[in-house]
């Protein structure tokens, strides 16, 4: 397969190969034609996928925020900064042409406060600055699909107080038919990204401790995004983190596994998500909703999904259940529950593999 390299990339040996206007769209068109020709000579019953309907299946319709399809990127390619949330290796192998990459460690970094862990917006902003992102840039984040590395990157932008639009590419790289790049990429011109911490995007351990037990009444909604076995603290389950002193969930939390937000490489159909969260989970879109997982990556999928379908005030517990379960001192202030079972079943699936921007084992 022939690929483009980015204009600022280090020039590998094969960088002069294909012409600059070679695109995956063109390659796919050629492949589709070959398939049709081959089919004509055989049984004539092979399915044909064209670039147009590959892209179309990832388009986002309706009143959905943040998530956009390939057409949006094609139309805004020159105006938006494109961030690749995948691993460095995958980034080098293939990426959207001109995309930049931000170190994921920086994206997930936290700092300790008296109230508990919070996003380290200084470190996050510095990483975006090194990637050449300015606070008022419109940014599109992509991975191989719409997994939690992608959504964590989107959250990190919001937490740093990003002013420009924050978009996520539905379908990820697999839905992109436009120009692609490969090889190492030169460092973009850094910016001085001054963070404006958006504390309304997260909550702390003590914020939750002051509201223990109030989340099933008039208080905020509380969603545990882990697998049900972790939520229930199922004894002997592989889903339990051995580094946690205690297992179970925060009092009053209901369980909706974040994987239900994703259907293969794209977000779950929005109407289905609305039913999942508003009907099945009975969350109030006008109230505060807090999401958490073991760490601070996977729950951002639910954080972004709820915002996308119209929830106004969604916050991430960045310290996660790991911080809560291992709290020092007065653990009576940070209780866990186990003998409850408010599990909302989901049927999602996440395409791609670990470090691809699709899935994270750390959340």
């Amino acid at each position: 397969m022939t690929r483009d390299t980015d204009p600022a990339a280090d020039r590998p040996a094969d960088a002069d190969g294909p012409p600059a206007d070679t695109t995956r769209r063109g390659l796919l068109r050629a492949a589709a034609g070959a398939t049709v020709a081959g089919a004509a000579s055989t049984a004539g019953c092979l399915g044909v996928t064209t670039p147009a309907n590959v892209a179309a299946q990832y388009e986002v319709s309706g009143n959905v925020a943040h998530f956009v399809g390939p057409e949006w990127l094609a139309d805004n390619r020159e105006d938006a900064v494109v961030l690749d949330a995948r691993s460095a290796e995958r980034f080098r192998t293939e990426r959207i042409y001109g995309a930049r990459r931000v170190p994921f460690d920086a994206i997930t970094s936290r700092t300790q406060t008296d109230a508990g862990a919070v996003p380290d917006t200084d470190a996050i902003a510095a990483a975006f600055g090194e990637a050449g992102v300015a606070p008022d840039d419109d940014v599109l984040v992509y991975g191989a699909s719409v997994g939690s590395r992608v959504t964590r990157t989107a959250f990190a932008l919001a937490a740093a107080g990003h002013v420009g639009d924050i978009k996520v590419l539905n379908g990820g790289l697999s839905g992109w038919n436009g120009r692609i790049g490969t090889g190492s990429r030169g460092a973009p011109t850094a910016t001085d990204y001054a963070p404006d911490p958006a504390a309304e995007t997260w909550v702390t351990r003590d914020w939750l401790a002051e509201r223990v037990g109030a989340t099933d009444g008039d208080g905020p909604g509380l969603v545990d995004t882990r697998v049900p076995e972790a939520y229930l603290g199922a004894p002997g389950s592989d889903a339990l983190d051995p580094d946690h002193d205690r297992h179970g969930h925060l009092p009053g939390a209901l369980n909706v596994n974040w994987v239900g937000n994703v259907a293969g490489n794209r977000m779950t159909e929005p109407g289905r998500l609305v039913r999942l969260y508003e009907v099945d989970a009975e969350l109030d879109r006008d109230a505060t909703v807090v999401v958490y997982g073991d760490e601070n990556v996977d729950p951002t999928s639910t954080w972004l999904t709820l915002r996308a379908i119209g929830f106004e005030d969604v916050r991430l517990y960045d310290g996660g259940f790991g911080e809560w379960a291992n709290a020092d001192g007065d653990r009576g202030r940070y209780p866990v529950e186990t003998a409850t079972s408010v599990v909302i079943e989901t049927e999602g699936s996440v395409g791609g593999g670990d470090d691809s921007g699709d899935f994270s084992c750390t959340g």
Partner: protein, 366 residues
């Protein structure tokens, strides 16, 4: 075990009910109750506290108290109801005023009174909630092993002993400091249901329901040997363990004997204070509790409409009984599956029987 009147905390006083809800039936109960004591029965299936005249069984009214009430205690002139389906307990004043006291953790189940507070096990979580019955307020929570159930108090009222159904331990809690100071390791797979101390406080006992055994421990050694933050088990606290009949749930401890009903086995194991087996009493259907009345031990049976003594005597009850509260030489029996409450004299049989709201469970006399 639920004794007459339940645990009573210090500092009784008239409640301030200005901002409380008032249950409509409670006024009638108060008026009628002036002539005598009232039996208050938590009715799990009706989310209500049912009130009966103790002398006649006349139904005086019901007080809505929240989801799945199971046990009750009296403190500061109020009846405090453990509502397992809530993250709260409910206080009912003598005038029927109802106050919700948030615990923050689901599953309030059993009460213990110490240091002027009521401690209630939050059986769906890992905490005891400490409630000030005078102020009708939560004053804090104490972290304990997961899914705490029954809580015992030492004779001096200084330490609480809370059994964990999840972590296989009995946690020792300093009541005044509201802090876990030690734990007793009952067994890795143990599901600790009943916990009791002998009246002199020299021995503690824990029922491992899953393992069908009883474990004796030294409360003093447990309190002294706590490790880091009370999370490490005290190594020398366990004295001995002994097998009992299948599906034990609760136990009775006196200074000279321990009785353990095995519900599934239909037996009552009788031990000395250090768990030397004295006798195995057989032939029960589903024994759940035992009461010493008139010099005999009488066994309550959840599948048999009679009380039977360990000596072989029997007394009829209107229906099988799941929970009973001793009232002098009589028993106030909750017939859970039959929606009945009765006052039973072990010598003469039922004094009265009354229909109750659904699933009557724990009771107190006020």
């Amino acid at each position: 075990m639920t004794d007459e009147g339940g645990p009573v905390a210090d500092g009784d006083r008239a409640p301030d009910a200005a901002d409380d809800d008032r249950a409509p039936d409670a006024d009638a109960a108060r008026e009628r109750g002036r002539s005598g004591r009232i039996a208050a029965v938590a009715c799990e299936g009706a989310d209500a506290l049912a009130l009966f005249a103790l002398d006649t069984g006349e139904r005086l009214g019901t007080v809505p108290v929240g989801s799945h009430p199971v046990h009750a205690a009296t403190a500061a002139g109020r009846t405090i109801v453990a509502t397992m389906g809530e993250r709260a307990v409910t206080a009912v004043g003598p005038d029927g005023a109802v106050t919700r006291i948030e615990t923050g953790v689901l599953g309030p189940s059993h009460f213990a009174a110490a240091d002027g507070l009521l401690f209630v096990s939050c059986s769906a979580g890992d905490a005891l909630a400490a409630v000030d019955p005078v102020e009708s307020a939560l004053v804090g929570r104490v972290a304990v092993g997961g899914e705490p159930h029954e809580v015992a108090v030492d004779p001096a009222g200084e330490y609480l002993y809370a059994g964990s159904r999840r972590d296989g331990v009995v946690d020792v809690v300093d009541a005044a400091a509201r802090e876990r100071v030690a734990s007793v390791d009952v067994g890795e797979e143990a599901r600790v249901q009943g916990v009791a101390l002998s009246p002199d406080g020299r021995r503690g006992y824990a029922i491992d329901q899953r393992g069908a055994r009883v474990v004796a421990f030294d409360p003093a050694a447990a309190a002294d040997d706590g490790g880091d933050s009370g999370r490490d088990p005290a190594p020398d606290a366990v004295v001995r363990g002994a097998a009992v009949g299948d599906d034990p749930y609760d136990l009775v401890a006196t200074d000279d004997r321990v009785l353990v009903p095995g519900r599934e086995a239909g037996t009552v194991h009788e031990f000395g204070p250090n768990l030397a087996l004295t006798a195995v009493h057989e032939g029960f259907s589903r024994p759940v509790d035992a009461f010493r009345i008139g010099g005999d031990w009488w066994v309550l049976d959840a599948a048999d409409s009679q009380l039977r003594s360990l000596d072989g005597d029997a007394g009829a009850t209107p229906a099988p009984g799941l929970v009973a509260t001793r009232v002098g030489d009589r028993l106030l029996v909750s017939h859970y599956d039959d929606d009945l409450v009765s006052l039973v004299d072990v010598e003469t049989g039922p004094v009265w029987t009354a229909e109750s709201p659904a699933y009557p469970f724990g009771s107190v006399v006020i």
